[in-house]
């Protein structure tokens, strides 16, 4: 097991390097000179030249890339051009907000999605099935900003619609962010469970005289939930990174808001830092999903 995990972690190293290279390259070809951004119009030729040299902007692309990677390994993602503060520190301050929002959204989507999916499968084609699948589809298909605005409008006065000064501030963003995940999980749970219930081993379980409830809980659920759990692990990382719109709409000072302000200000180090940070989270999420999968599914377990 430890060997398997080590192997999976080692595999992520080239992925990380390639990913940083790609981001680094893309942000390099984007027009706009950092010095101009920083200094606005107050420029003197020699000041610009000095600044460029001190920021190593005249070095060849690959040297700059290697230097960035080397710094990043040591936790230094550069300094924000706009805010003149270390990017690592800015992300560290913002991340707890994003984490809280993502975790509560994930929790919401599991608590809603899995039971709803199970009930829908067991009571297939009933009113409750159609109703919950409709709501799920709604959550999956409606744009986040629209749902956010509707909820803000509906609950203004009862719940905070902006900022997270108290925990109540997280309620609406959690629903907005978690709804589509909940819908996806509910639909996946339902379809997996329905599929599993048609399997031969379910008939075997029934032939032993087990009750319907036991057939579902002991024999069907584990098989049906294996793919769902994988999706859940991947979803956490996408919730962590996909909160950009939700954070903006609800004015939550998380990593998403940080990225948005970086884009607005052409703050390349900050943007680069947030994008790479998010990508690392996604890679980590996939890693966790893989490991989880191998723990739950004995067929994948390596001896």
């Amino acid at each position: 097991m430890a060997k398997y995990i080590t192997k999976r972690i080692l595999v992520t190293i080239p992925v990380l390097l390639g990913m940083i290279l790609l981001i680094f390259f893309m942000l390099n070809v984007v027009p706009g000179d950092p010095v101009t951004v920083m200094m606005k119009e107050h420029l003197k030729e020699d000041v610009v030249a000095n600044l460029r040299r001190s920021m190593h902007l005249d070095d060849p692309f690959f040297i700059r890339y290697l230097r960035y990677v080397w710094d990043a390994i040591r936790g230094d993602l550069g300094v924000s051009w706009k805010l003149s503060r270390p990017v690592t520190g800015l992300i560290a301050t913002a991340f707890p907000y994003t984490l809280k929002l993502a975790l509560s959204a994930a929790l919401f989507s599991w608590i809603m999605g899995i039971p709803v999916g199970i009930v829908s499968a067991v009571r297939k084609n009933s009113l409750i099935d159609h109703l919950s699948m409709g709501l799920s589809l709604f959550g999956v298909s409606m744009p986040v900003f629209w749902v956010a605005l509707i909820l803000q409008n509906t609950f203004k006065g009862t719940l905070p619609v902006s900022g997270v000064q108290t925990w109540k501030g997280y309620i609406l963003p959690t629903i907005v962010l978690g709804w589509s995940s909940a819908g996806r999980i509910a639909r996946l749970t339902r379809s997996n469970l329905l599929e599993v219930l048609r399997e031969d081993y379910i008939r075997t379980a029934r032939s032993k005289g087990l009750s319907r409830l036991k057939v579902i809980t002991r024999h069907a659920l584990k098989n049906a939930l294996i793919p769902v759990i994988t999706v859940m692990a991947i979803q956490i990382s996408s919730l962590l990174s996909g909160a950009v719109i939700t954070e903006s709409v609800f004015s939550i000072p998380g990593v998403g808001s940080l990225a948005v302000s970086a884009i607005k200000n052409r703050d390349m180090p900050l943007l680069q830092g947030t994008v790479i940070f998010t990508a690392v989270l996604i890679i980590a999420g996939n890693l966790v999903a893989d490991v989880l999968y191998s723990i739950i599914d004995p067929r994948i377990r390596v001896e």
Partner: protein, 330 residues
């Protein structure tokens, strides 16, 4: 005769997408299984042999429904029992073995736990006792190192071992009736012989009756005492195993016999029954086999033959039954 199970006039139908009428998969089957004996139920795939057994145990798929009939087991009609009453019988008095041992075992539960499950459920055994009993039966069905195998998962076992696990599961509680649905079809021939021998040994030891559902006449010859041949949802012939192989009377049975590969002179072609099984929605009015029968007369196409007694319990659904020795195929 003392029968452990008596099925009378069983009719089972299936709903099908896009059709208003239900398809009749089993059409008035009568079948009796004497206590402690092995009865074969033979026929092509889709002839209704599995549906017959699933109807009796209440395990039909969602779209299936028993329309009428009786299935007397220990004086009770299984078809009239509630789901709860049936559950008390399933896995306890009647157990089942299915065809594909890979898909019939739960891939994420250790095989030993799956075997022990019925014992814990029906006899209320605690975990340790159930495990001891499971290890014992696993050893008995010829699973080497049963203690180690107990905690293994189906994918870690070979096909033969998996089927032994299924048999251990079926035999654990010494049922009165074991329904084996093509138990050896997925196995190679040498394993098949071992499995059949094992089933016969366990049968002798526990007095279990077996309903052996198969399309393989070799299996029938190996293990069965009596045989029912089904065609298109109906029993077309019933005989004890010796009579069947010596002088089967129905043209369909004779076709099956003729289709068995034998040691024949070189160049002689293997016999095959022409045509295909009739569509469930377009059953022939008369004898259901008539369109494929080489002896069919005009009467056969318009009138349905009854199940005639040819003497000694040899039943045959044909207007003109004849012995196999009368003619030679090919």
């Amino acid at each position: 005769m003392d029968n452990i199970l008596e099925i009378k006039n069983l009719i089972t139908s299936f709903a099908s997408d896009g059709r208003k009428e239900r398809a009749i998969a089993v059409n008035g089957v009568d079948l009796a299984i004497p206590r402690g004996k092995t009865v074969g139920l033979v026929g092509e795939s889709g002839c209704g042999k599995s549906v017959t057994s699933l109807s009796v145990t209440g395990l039909l798929a969602e779209n299936g429904r028993v329309e009428s009939g009786e299935a007397l087991f220990q004086g009770r009609d299984l078809l009239r029992l509630s789901e709860k009453e049936l559950r008390a019988i399933r896995g306890n008095d009647i157990s089942m073995i299915f065809q594909e041992p890979m898909t019939s075992l739960n891939p994420v539960i250790p095989v030993g736990v799956q075997v022990a499950e019925a014992a814990r459920l029906h006899e209320g055994l605690d975990k340790a006792t159930a495990k001891a009993r499971t290890v014992e039966i696993m050893r008995k069905v010829g699973i080497p190192e049963p203690e180690r195998r107990y905690g293994q998962y189906p994918h870690q076992l070979s096909g033969g071992l998996r089927q032994r696990v299924m048999i251990a599961m079926g035999m654990l509680l010494k049922p009165d009736l074991l329904i084996a649905d093509e138990p050896t079809t997925a196995l190679d021939v040498s394993i098949e012989a071992q499995i059949l021998r094992l089933m016969r040994d366990l049968q002798r030891e526990n007095g279990t009756a077996i309903l052996m559902i198969t399309h393989n006449l070799g299996v029938v010859a190996e293990i069965c005492d009596e045989v029912y041949v089904m065609y298109a949802g109906e029993v077309v012939e019933r005989a004890d195993v010796f009579t069947l192989f010596k002088s089967c009377a129905h043209p369909y049975t004779r076709g099956l016999m003729g289709a068995l590969p034998r040691m024949t002179p070189k160049g002689q072609r293997l016999y095959n029954i022409r045509g295909t099984v009739p569509n469930l929605w377009a059953m022939p009015v008369g004898c259901r086999f008539a369109p494929r029968c080489e002896f069919a007369a005009e009467r056969c196409h318009g009138e349905k033959p009854p199940l005639l007694d040819l003497g000694g319990g040899h039943l045959c659904r044909c207007f003109a039954p004849r012995g196999l020795e009368d003619e030679h195929h090919g």
